[in-house]
């Protein structure tokens, strides 16, 4: 990835962290919603609380991907600075192995 693309990616990640995800995705809130009437309670019983799952997973996935990319470039930078280090791919596979070992 070129330097300009990396900067653009960083800018997007900063924006993603500050812009309200609900606003970004076009939600307007619940203005005018009636208070707890029987009809609303009935409707709530039929709504899957996991319906927001796609948006949550997408936003968190995007932020994680930015972090993941940043970490991978950081390790390349470290290698460049300190020279003779391991490749980014080696670092990545070491991290994964470390996580697996700490797990079980």
């Amino acid at each position: 990835m070129s330097r300009s693309k990396l900067i653009a990616l960083a800018a997007v990640s900063i924006c993603a962290a500050y812009v309200s995800p609900t606003a970004a995705l076009g939600f307007s809130g619940a203005e005018g919603m009636p208070s707890t009437t029987g009809r609303v309670e009935l409707l709530l019983a039929y709504i899957d609380p996991g319906a927001a799952g796609f948006i949550i997973v997408s936003v968190l996935g995007f932020i994680s991907a930015v972090g993941y990319t940043a970490r991978s470039y950081l390790s390349r930078l470290k290698r460049f600075v300190f020279r003779g280090g391991r490749t980014a791919r080696e670092c990545e596979s070491d991290e994964r192995r470390c996580l697996e070992e700490s797990g079980c």
Partner: protein, 476 residues
């Protein structure tokens, strides 16, 4: 006569049956629908799945020919095909696990999903009830949870993962709230909106809370309001997620879970018992020798260590038993036992957190979905060392009822009776007004002799304690 497993009815693609077998006792056979048969056949030819099975991360599974007697009896129930799973020694539920066991189970779940995604598969749910233990090793048992990952479908199990793994772990790690009672009363877990009430004020900035509790809770609230406002429910069928973002999310979650730890401010009542018990060195060695001698003579398949503490005697028992289920009510002691057993390679000890005065009841649909602790399997031998006086004094269980309960285990017993003149008993009752008149050596022996035969006995601490080897009396 085959019996259907009480907890495997929710997935319409199959059902697990326990089929009696002359050689192994019983076989675990899963009946499958026609479409599930095709999916599982495809899955079993995948290199990633073979690798997971060979590493022991997924329960060993093999297809059965229709003429196999076990397969035939299952297919008579209307299933198109059958596969056999390796039997698990003893079923346990997540509300019986200490913190480190739930953490290891969560890491396994993430690792499996990561491997599956990289090979074009997905896990359709994410619940710790799909994980069991072979000693201190977590094993994924719900093979039909693996489904082909179709065209970038988003991870629908994320919310369930948070509710049943991540949030319970964060409640314990960040706030010191034990997750076991919460998971026992809500097996579906603690949803983000409910968890958000625990993480108020500055607590909402603890690691992982903003992204996996606060943000999902806020989104779910908004979505609920939006959909109740216009009455329409949005379809999830066309929603797609890229492999990169999903793998990155899994990587983030694995880092978060691996970084969670539970270190209580001080030691618990019992976690240092193995160093601070009231025995002299000689008596303690004699007690260990008594236990080892009688267990090695019996070589039980299943042994229960009731009141196991940090597992000094569980480890002795494990040398001569196929499986040891070590139970104690003290979370810190059991967590230490699990970590030490895992690190030292004791692969046949299953440590569980449970108050024996309030053991796990039958849970779920008609109380049979998750079997009660005492209804799963009877042990061949049970250790009950320095436990009876606690149940008598702290839980107020009359001596006769305690002995009746021990008889109901229908197992050989090694019991340590702590007499009234023992300093630990005196310490236990020093602030109690009741005198526990039925708790005497004479009455204990009388109650024992009604239901057991005393095979061996040994005095400890100059007669203040007694070790007894008991065989259940069939006339009881």
């Amino acid at each position: 006569m085959l019996s259907a497993d009480g907890g495997s009815f929710k997935d319409p693609s199959g059902r697990v049956y326990l089929v009696p077998d002359r050689d192994s006792g019983q076989r675990v056979v899963r009946g499958l629908t026609d479409s599930a048969r095709a999916t599982i056949a495809r899955l079993m030819s995948e290199p990633f799945f073979e690798s997971l099975m060979s590493r022991g991360d997924v329960v060993k599974t093999a297809g059965l020919r229709p003429d196999d007697p076990a397969a035939a009896s299952v297919m008579k129930m209307g299933w198109a095909a059958a596969v056999e799973h390796e039997a698990v020694d003893f079923l346990t539920w997540p509300y019986e696990w200490p913190f480190s066991m739930l953490k290891d189970a969560a890491l396994l779940q993430l690792r499996l999903l990561d491997s599956a995604i990289r090979s074009g598969w997905m896990l359709k749910d994410a619940t710790p009830f799909n994980i069991q233990w072979v000693g201190t090793r977590p094993v994924f048992i719900d093979v039909p949870s693996f489904v082909p990952w179709e065209d970038g479908e988003y991870w629908q199990g994320y919310r369930q993962f948070c509710s049943t793994f991540l949030i319970p772990l964060m409640l314990t790690a960040h706030l010191g709230i034990p997750f076991q009672p919460l998971l026992r009363s809500c097996p579906e877990g603690i949803p983000p909106e409910e968890a958000a009430r625990y993480f108020y004020g500055l607590r909402r900035f603890k690691r992982g809370v903003p992204s996996h509790v606060w943000f999902p809770a806020k989104m779910e609230r908004r979505m609920r309001k939006r959909e109740s406002g216009n009455g329409s429910s949005s379809s999830s069928k066309r929603r797609r997620q890229s492999e990169t973002t999903l793998l990155a999310l899994l990587d983030d979650l694995a880092r978060l879970v691996a970084g969670l730890s539970h270190r209580p401010a001080g030691s618990s009542n019992w976690s240092e018992y193995s160093e601070t018990h009231s025995y002299g060195e000689v008596d303690f060695e004699r007690k260990k020798a008594f236990v080892e001698e009688h267990i090695s003579a019996r070589r039980p398949r299943l042994l229960w260590d009731l009141g196991a503490n940090t597992g000094t005697f569980s480890r002795i028992a494990a040398r001569h038993s196929q499986v040891v289920v070590a139970v104690d009510g003290d979370h810190e002691a059991v967590d230490i036992l699990y970590r030490e057993a895992r690190e030292s390679g004791d692969r046949n000890i299953i440590p569980l957190v449970m108050d024996l005065a309030n053991p796990s009841p039958g849970q779920g649909w008609v109380g049979r979905e998750r079997a009660a602790f005492f209804e799963r399997q009877s042990p061949d031998v049970a250790l009950c060392l320095a436990l009876v006086h606690h149940l008598r004094v702290s839980a107020n269980i009359p001596t006769s009822m305690l002995i009746e309960w021990l008889r109901s285990l229908d197992a050989a017993l090694i019991v340590e009776f702590v007499g009234r003149d023992d300093e630990m008993f005196r310490k236990l009752v020093e602030n109690k007004s009741e005198d526990y008149a039925d708790y005497t050596s004479e009455n204990f022996q009388l109650e024992i002799e009604k239901r057991f035969t005393i095979e061996d006995r040994m005095e400890l601490k100059k007669g203040k304690r007694q070790m007894l080897l008991l065989e259940p009396n069939n006339l009881a």
